[in-house]
């Protein structure tokens, strides 16, 4: 078990280099390699090797490499060439970028409208269930367990645009439809978001339920002493108590939806008429359709920078309210 990983040469991890310098700086006593081994330094290093090798190769190195690659052209055949900010300007000049940004924002907005308030309402109602709460939460969580690819492919069947499609049959019962679902540029994105919301809501509900059990019952007692009814208790006690977690789920949802890939890729592959091309799909196409790794990393770095700025501003702005 261990040997498979240890077979990597031990000089790979970048964090290995500063070890000796830090060590000698921290220990006043002079140390030789022999005392280091005697003191367990070697066995500690061997035990730490899986972490250092795996993170070094597959996390730290690629992150550094991303910044380097964004200022290079790389075609894997000839040596990479430094091109300055050319990749960034080329991406910014891409006529598709505006569409992708708009679509991603639209996806994020729809996901907020469909998927942000609903889990909260469900969780608050569910927290008041007295018997069979476990059944409620298991039912709510079930869609999360379905593998995402299966969920998308199954919903693709549901979205069949013929009058005999699953959803069109259902809306037909109340005299609506048939709707074009994925076939129409203005319907495609909401259809994608509907599936994504179905697939993700259970996780958020469970988070809120856990947070709701953390609300001290004394607060409700106190509110009742002050004469608060049910609605005022929800508004003035429950929601303020959940504020912190609500802020976090909001920004996490935005960060998640900004990187949405599976739904647009599998449902529509960006169509119809680029109406579902997202930034992540553009990055994928840059890299794995056109082999332009420089542009792909440039765009992903720009997306990451925007997300970083957004979350910093967000946490600064909300830190004063969430306490």
């Amino acid at each position: 078990m261990t040997t498979t990983v240890v077979s990597q040469p031990p000089d790979a991890p970048p964090a290995h280099a500063p070890v000796s310098s830090i060590m000698s700086a921290r220990r006043r006593r002079r140390r030789t390699p022999v005392t280091w081994v005697r003191g367990g330094g070697l066995s500690t290093l061997i035990l730490g090797l899986p972490l250092l090798v795996i993170f070094g190769l597959f996390s730290w190195f690629p992150i550094v490499r991303a910044t380097v690659m964004s200022v290079q052209t790389t075609n894997l055949v000839t040596a990479p060439v430094y091109v300055g900010l050319d990749n960034f300007t080329a991406v910014l000049a891409d006529p598709l970028l505006g569409t992708a940004v708009t679509n991603t924002l639209y996806f994020a907005l729809l996901a907020l409208v469909f998927g942000y308030p609903a889990p909260l309402v469900v969780a608050v109602l569910m927290s008041e269930v007295r018997r069979g709460k476990g059944v409620f939460s298991a039912l709510a969580y079930l869609p999360v367990v379905v593998p995402p690819v299966v969920a998308v492919l199954l919903w693709k069947v549901f979205y069949d645009a013929s009058p005999d499609g699953v959803f069109n049959t259902i809306v037909g019962w109340v005299g609506l439809g048939p709707f074009p679902w994925l076939q129409d540029p203005s319907w495609a994105m909401p259809s994608l978001v509907l599936e994504a919301t179905w697939a993700a809501a259970g996780g958020t509900i469970i988070i809120y339920l856990a947070a709701l059990t953390g609300v001290a019952p004394e607060l409700y007692d106190a509110a009742e002493v002050d004469g608060a009814g049910v609605w005022r208790k929800v508004w003035h006690v429950t929601l303020p108590q959940l504020r912190g977690i609500l802020f976090i789920t909001l920004i996490l949802q935005v960060i998640g939806t900004a990187q949405v890939f599976l739904e647009p890729y599998l449902f529509t592959n960006g169509g119809p008429a680029n109406s579902t091309t997202t930034i992540m799909l553009m990055i994928y196409n840059y890299a794995f359709q056109f082999g332009d790794y420089g542009k792909a990393t440039a765009l992903s770095l720009m997306l990451a920078a925007v997300l970083a700025v957004l979350s910093t501003v967000y946490f600064k702005a909300t830190s004063s309210w969430s306490k």
Binding site: V5, I54, F58, V145, V150, K233, T297
Partner: protein, 317 residues
């Protein structure tokens, strides 16, 4: 307010009773107090909303999965013409067998399991040894390593995709390509900062005296790891294991990029391709087969998923 007058009124013997009541009330009550429940308007409104909520959850949560289970054993023409009818022309069990043998779902199922087990082993190995070193052994370089591991939590996955792909294409130092190799999926799965932090936190909360005692008794770092830390960390490694397996089962984009050879691809990568050339009923049978195991795992480990330990899973997704 008037409801509350009743409890402070009884003066004699109130102490023990009140304490007991407060204890059970704290566990029992949520937003509504027991008296709220007794008020006719509130109580019946809430009961009605619970019935509606339950119906909604059954339709929304269970409905699509039941439909999939039904359609997996329904002939294609029935599913196309009357998708909501329940077995209008009988059950077609052969779909499952056809999907399993003729369209090689057995092979892709096996591949998925191999990927999940390998990723699980690597993740547990990295998280257990890493958490142990960073939390218990605390070498001088531990702080730097912890900071570096933590910092990767803040890097969105999108940044890693392309450079990680190029890394796997030509691994530095050893210069081998992991494309079309299980290792290309297994090894990067181990670089999960979430796992390491989770296990480290768990070890941080174990009493240090135990390790000190073992060391005084002459146990070296390996012995302490194997005989003391591993047995004690079984619950946290259980959490890591379940989420590792589930995450590997869900993974799509990475295996799609790394495993180009269809004979090595897992279900998640093969299913979209199958959709193009397999008849609908057999395809739905394949989807149902792919969903069965995760649902069984969920039902077995329900408490672990629903207790909020899955917070990280939600954050990662």
């Amino acid at each position: 307010m008037t409801d509350h007058v009743s409890s402070p009124v009884a003066p004699t013997g109130a102490r023990p009773r009140k304490a007991r009541k407060a204890g059970s009330a704290a566990a029992d009550r949520g937003i509504l107090s027991p008296s709220d429940w007794r008020r006719r308007g509130v109580g019946s409104w809430l009961r009605l909303s619970h019935v509606l909520l339950f119906a909604g959850l059954v339709v929304g949560g269970l409905g699509p999965i039941l439909w999939l289970a039904k359609s997996a054993v329904t002939p294609t023409q029935d599913t196309l013409r009357t998708p909501m009818a329940i077995f209008p022309n009988g059950v077609d069990w052969a779909n499952l067998a056809t999907a399993w043998t003729r369209f090689e779902i057995d092979l892709y199922f096996y591949n998925t399991i191999v990927l999940a087990l390998g990723s699980w082993l690597i993740q547990v190995l990295v998280a257990a040894t890493g958490g142990y070193v960073l939390s218990v052994l605390r070498p001088a370089w531990g702080r730097v390593a912890t900071a570096l591991v933590l910092s990767t939590l803040f890097i969105p996955a999108v940044v890693l995709l392309v450079p990680l792909y190029l890394t796997v294409l030509d691994v530095p130092v050893v210069h081998v390509s992991l494309i079309n190799s299980w290792w290309g999926v297994w090894l990067p799965a181990g670089a999960s900062a979430f796992n390491v932090i989770l296990v480290k936190r768990f070890f941080d909360n174990l009493p240090r005296e135990i390790f000190e005692a073992a060391r005084v008794d002459g146990a070296g770092p390996f012995r302490v790891a194997w005989s003391i830390v591993m047995p004690m960390s079984r619950p946290i490694l259980g959490v890591v294991s379940v989420f590792a397996v589930i995450a590997a089962w869900k993974d799509f984009l990475w295996p799609l990029l790394v495993l180009r050879d269809p004979a090595k691809q897992p279900l998640s990568v093969r299913l979209p391709a199958l959709a193009n050339y397999v008849e609908l009923d057999v395809f739905l049978a394949a989807l149902a087969i792919s969903t069965a195991l995760p649902i069984v795992i969920f039902l077995v480990f329900q408490r672990m998923f629903l207790s909020g330990a899955g917070l990280g899973g939600a954050v990662k997704g």
